[in-house]
Amino acid sequence: MAELTYRDALRSALIEEMDHDRRVVLIGEDIGVYQGTFRVTADLLKRYGPGRVIDTPISELGFVGAAIGMAMLGLRPVVEVMTWNFSLLAMDQIVNNAAKLRYFSGGQVNVPMVIRGPNGAGVQLSAQHSQSLEATYAHFPGLYVVAPATPAEAKGLLRTAIRSDDPVIFLENAALYGMKGEVPDSDFALPFGKAAVARSGRDVTVVAYSRMVFAALTAAEQLAAEGIEAEVINMRCLRPLDAATIVESVSRTHRAVVVQEQWKPFGAAAEIAMRIYEDAFDQLDAPVERVTGADVPMPYARTLEVRAVPHEADIVAAVKKTLGKD
């Protein structure tokens, strides 16, 4: 075990995979000389050279497309998008090409690529740098969608992502890069589609992912002081979605709150809540509650941004509602 930041956990996974497998190449804007906008690729240009650490022109569509070509040829490109918001420029390559090439080749063509970068709000970068795009990408068959919350998950899931034979949407979070945590040594990997119980409890199940896991854990602390024991489930992946772990929990607590950082309509919380209704309706003693962000483009001013994303108090209120204590 070593204590690493989320950023260094990602970086150590890149280093170990690049040492382990010459097919792994990095590609993106400012990842070489500049060492990455969030310094995830610090020093990697010096270690691996410009052939494997490729600073690109400003052209998301072009370099994501080129990475697809490299992947089809058997390289394992890890693409850094400066933020996931810029992936919208490459949407056609991701959705119409990366996600469909295996299917459209009748299973003959692998596209082993990872696209990674910060997703979501929280560091005052306004609406074109702060969107949460997990539900958008999780909608499309052919893409894995991963959203690690802790440094250990960042490392374990990135390793699995790089070794995957299909495209992986790897959603980091700018507010988490500096967070420290214990990361197992050696060849540590976490499987896709396996949620973690971040805190055990008997009264209510709170489902979250990425940064919202920490809001949920803080809320659980506050609830515990009032005698309410919340179980917090950290999803880790949205596709595949580990419904079994949620259903098992809800079968014990009989209540559920689903948390997501941003827009409520057609969001991940709607999908997760519906899976609970489909698979555990008879277990529920109250309707599933959703805690979501404000339905606005993310504002810049701190006071406005803070208001536009969910907080512990919102989760506490939702939990109490499921318990009839509002």
């Binding site: 119409n96 009748g106 003959q108």
Partner: protein
């Protein structure tokens, strides 16, 4: 033999092409055309939902594919690349299996529309309906080849309409920066479905754009098969020498409608259609081979019979192939293991 015949005969020989080579090239042009025509008949007869044609483009495609190493090199086609894919190794049966969306369709197992050719075994990869996306793929493939020092060259094709897409420009920029071993082919038939060249770009030719990316650009008459061969081989040799990409534009006639979903008579005049038919590479190449005495009435008939037989057999074979099992619809979304 007349003096004129000697001069023209020298042309393919000067380029290093044997008589057998040019006859074989003509065979592929004729095969692609016959296959194209058969596909339209089958579509009109209700045997296929959709056809998209390469008619008029066959000469430049066969010529461009000729210098390529069929086993070593990569080809990233677009939906008019019938002739190029045939030269690269696909068969008429392969293409008709795609047309009929059969389980054994080598491109996609009946999952992608007809005309979206792919055949990994022959190193033919990736076709998508949004035009232009194949260009960055090809550049990435070429980058990977260079990184691995495999000596592979990649060829990618597109129509002139597709060159308006961002993908195309971003790919050229990337290819030039990294000196990728890639031949960037544009088959300019001056129509993107119905939109004419003057509404597609303000420059007179696509090839002049190469200067903006720092690579050579060349235009050749797509009805002059030997000239198409000459410029492509030059670009191929450049790529092999590590000197990077070349933009190659072939000026070609589009003989048919864009696809089976439109009627070109609605946006092309009778005069225009008469004019483009004169540029048909099947006719111009045949005329050359007749002039140099390589095709006579007898050998032409033999060739036509050979093509007809192949298309008939392929149609029967593809028609007999089974449809995909319905319960396989959800297969091949993610890796399923060896």
């Amino acid at each position: 033999m007349s003096a004129e015949a000697k001069t023209v005969q020298a042309r393919h020989r000067v380029l290093g092409l044997s008589d057998q080579d040019v006859l074989e090239m003509y065979y592929y042009v004729a095969l692609a055309r016959a296959l194209d025509e058969r596909m339209w008949v089958l579509q009109r007869a209700g045997k296929a939902m959709f056809v998209i044609s390469g008619a008029g483009h066959e000469g430049c495609q066969v010529a461009a594919m000729w210098p390529m190493d069929k086993k070593l090199d990569w080809f990233v086609p677009y939906y008019r690349s019938v002739a190029a894919c045939l030269v690269k190794g696909m068969t008429a049966t392969d293409m008709l299996l795609g047309l009929f969306a059969r389980a054994t369709d080598p491109s996609s197992g009946g999952r992608q529309m007809p005309g979206h050719y792919g055949h990994p075994r022959f190193k033919i990869l990736s076709t998508s309906s949004p035009v232009g996306t194949q260009y960055p793929h090809a550049v990435g493939i070429a980058y990977a080849s260079r990184l691995r020092r495999t000596g592979e060259v990649t060829m990618v094709s597109i129509g002139e309409g597709g060159t308006s897409q961002g993908d195309w420009h971003e790919a050229l920029n990337f290819a030039a920066i990294h000196k990728c071993p890639v031949l960037l082919i544009v088959e300019n038939n001056e129509l993107a479905i119905s939109v004419p060249l003057r509404k597609q770009m303000a420059v007179s030719s696509v090839a002049v754009r190469a200067a903006g990316y720092g690579m050579p650009g060349v235009t050749a008459d797509g009805s002059d098969v030997l000239e198409c061969f000459r410029v492509t081989r030059e670009a191929y040799d450049r790529a092999k020498r590590g000197e990077g990409p070349t933009l190659i534009e072939f000026a070609v006639p589009r003989l048919g409608s864009h696809s089976s979903d439109d009627q070109q008579e609605r946006y092309r005049s009778r005069e225009e259609l008469e004019q483009v038919r004169k540029r048909d590479p099947l006719l111009t190449f045949r005329a050359y081979l007749e002039r140099v005495g390589l095709l006579t009435q007898g050998t032409l008939q033999d060739m036509t019979d050979r093509v007809r037989r192949e298309i008939d057999l392929s149609t029967d074979e593809a028609d007999r192939a089974p449809l995909p099992q319905p319960d396989t619809a959800t297969r091949h979304v993610f890796y399923e293991g060896e």
